[in-house]
């Protein structure tokens, strides 16, 4: 199939996990900051589902990216920088979602604080990956 098709599909697919992770982090951070108020439970429930959907959204994002580059996991130049950020972000996002599913509502406040730090790290890596991905699109 035309690699341009996969490039367009990758551009469309990557924004879902990126946006969902950022929103999830913001919702959980708000819940963390507003501890003790009635809205906290709803904020964490929304944060839970958005991180799970974000992790599920990485599957089409990664698959279309690999199809576009014909299986390159590193490459050169901007593609390499993109990949060096993408793979840790992908692993972290899956780990975060798995932790939320596994821990359920039993997580303690210190654990949630650590979780939020890792979400920030994943969001930062995804932003950097998005930047280098955008640079490649501009270069085209």
């Amino acid at each position: 199939m035309d690699p341009e098709y996969w490039a367009k599909a990758h551009g469309a697919a990557t924004h879902f996990p990126f946006a969902l992770t950022l929103v999830s982090g913001a919702l959980d951070a708000a819940g963390f900051a507003l501890a003790g108020r009635p809205v906290v439970r709803d904020l964490h429930a929304a944060g839970y589902w958005t991180i799970v959907l974000g992790a599920i959204g990485t599957v089409p994002a990664v698959a279309t990216g690999l199809l576009m580059t014909r299986g390159s996991v590193l490459g050169h130049g901007a593609l390499r920088l993109h990949h060096l950020c993408v793979w840790p972000a992908f692993a972290l996002l899956v780990a975060l979602a798995a932790w939320r599913v596994s821990a359920g509502r039993r997580s303690t406040r210190p654990a949630l604080g650590g979780y939020l730090l890792v979400v920030m790290l994943a969001a930062g890596l995804m932003s950097a990956a998005g930047y280098w991905g955008g640079e490649m699109m501009v270069a085209r």
């Binding site: 690999l66 014909r70 299986g71 390159s72 490459g75 130049g77 793979w87 692993a91 780990a95 821990a103």
Partner: protein
């Protein structure tokens, strides 16, 4: 602790699945284009470059490559060589070994220094 173990396992499985899918795609692509598959490395040495080396590479390119890839390297019979996303090692590998039925081997014509100069020239193309 159990949750942490499960999350590490999940991310490991996800990464392994993605890399396995990538390996299948690389093999299929290499077979369909007749190129020799070359494993990607996390740490790749970069070819040293300088204006003199780029000029030397351009002269070599015009002498050995331009009749297929075009004098401006925008492609003719061979592909466009601007903004290549493969490693320096892979560029050297293709120059040395060629691609069966598509590109001849330049192993007898070009040594390590010449390939380094050609790579520096190709990297200068934007």
């Amino acid at each position: 602790m159990r949750s942490l173990g499960l999350s590490l396992l999940a991310s490991g499985v996800a990464l392994a699945s993605a890399f396995a899918f990538a390996a299948v795609l690389r093999r299929e692509t290499a077979l369909s284009s007749r190129q020799q598959p070359l494993a990607e490395r996390w740490l790749e040495p970069r070819t040293l470059t300088s204006p003199e080396l780029v000029a030397r590479g351009r002269a070599l390119f015009l002498d050995s490559c331009a009749h297929c890839h075009g004098a401006d390297a925008r492609g003719d019979e061979g592909p466009d060589l601007h903004d290549l996303q493969v490693s320096d090692r892979y560029i050297g590998h293709v120059i040395t070994h060629g691609i069966p039925h598509e590109m001849p081997s330049f192993a007898k014509k070009l040594g390590e220094l010449e390939i380094g100069a050609l790579t520096a020239y190709l990297r200068s193309l934007r």
